[in-house]
């Protein structure tokens, strides 16, 4: 029964270990807060080389969060992983449409994925803060909407994981000049996406 039972203490010590194992680096303090939290959630140090944080993107994300934005996520896992107390403190909210029956019907009728239909809905609703952690098709659809002038996101987290389309979709998406955070290559996913959002939230409100 001598294990540590205080989550705050566990997290602090974890971040200390991660910092020590990361060693010397050129990341800014705020970049490190994101990188460390992603490593904390995956125990995978490869992310220090895979995370791409576009210069200025953290400022853009924090500006949105301070204004009380609505965050769109492409999975319910990401939605579940975002700290709701921090969101509430900032008058922010998070939505996902991918599991809705109406979206499933639209996707079926049009022969597209539910993820794509859901992104279209989010775009129509004027969402500015997108978190894509699962579906390459969602990311391609978002890119198309941007290129067609139908959507102009202020900040995007683009971290689909996988073996078919994920790496390429992120590489293609990076060509847009939008403020963004991506994970290069195959890795990424819902826990990574949620960790990035939470790292941004904790820059503005106390972790609890």
């Amino acid at each position: 029964m001598d294990y540590i039972k205080k989550p705050g203490v566990i997290e602090e010590k974890s971040f200390q270990i991660i910092g020590e194992e990361l060693g010397p680096n050129n990341f800014t303090h705020r970049e490190l807060l994101i990188i460390k939290r992603v490593i904390h959630t995956t125990a995978d140090f490869e992310y220090k080389d895979l995370l791409y944080i576009r210069p200025g993107a953290i400022d853009d994300a924090l500006k949105l969060l301070k204004e009380g934005t609505t965050i769109y996520t492409d999975t319910n896992m990401i939605l579940a992983g975002i700290n709701k107390r921090a969101l509430k403190t900032l008058n922010c909210s998070v939505v996902s449409y991918v599991a809705e029956n109406e979206i499933a019907q639209i996707a079926k009728d049009r022969g597209i994925t539910r993820s794509m239909a859901a992104i279209e809905r989010a775009s129509e609703e004027g969402i500015n803060f997108f978190v894509i952690g699962n579906a390459p098709t969602a990311l391609y659809k978002l890119k198309e909407l941007v290129e067609e002038g139908k959507c102009n996101p202020s900040f995007v987290i683009a971290v689909p994981v996988g073996f078919v389309g994920a790496a390429q979709s992120k590489k293609d998406f990076e060509k847009l000049t939008l403020p963004m955070i991506t994970v290069r290559g195959r890795k990424g996913g819902s826990t990574v996406a949620a960790a990035i959002v939470n790292a941004l939230l904790y820059m503005l409100v106390n972790r609890k």
Copy 2:
């Protein structure tokens, strides 16, 4: 617009690529279904060496699922990641108590983590199928309850991730003779936990 838009096709192709990159191995067909799905969800081939599937554990898990069991998860992310349609087909359900106000109060009053308080509740309710993907303290608490004769799970997925206590908690838990699937070392987490549950579900019902 020439990217693949059918999730079923994407997944099939992904599994084919994973199989090719895994190369020759001695896993059974059913073990491979679990290992491949975990790699599919993380894009991390290390899991082929880290996953420990106790002999007989898959049979025990499937038996519970066929009986219509209640699965306990230690995070809402895992809960969100489990395929609800497959659960429903099998008359199974999934619960998590870690975010409940009553559990928070008990944890505060007793100076333990919410994860620990939530595991106690699940144990009292006679849950047989535990999925621990986040909190080493939850796993230690479950171990204590087993050793005290207060809980006798029929199947446990023990995959906390992290730098303080996670690896040790799993190593200690493995000493129990229970049917279990674990991830050795620091890695694991909610997406890994959900992937293992879904791999088991898809052995019994069609993936949709």
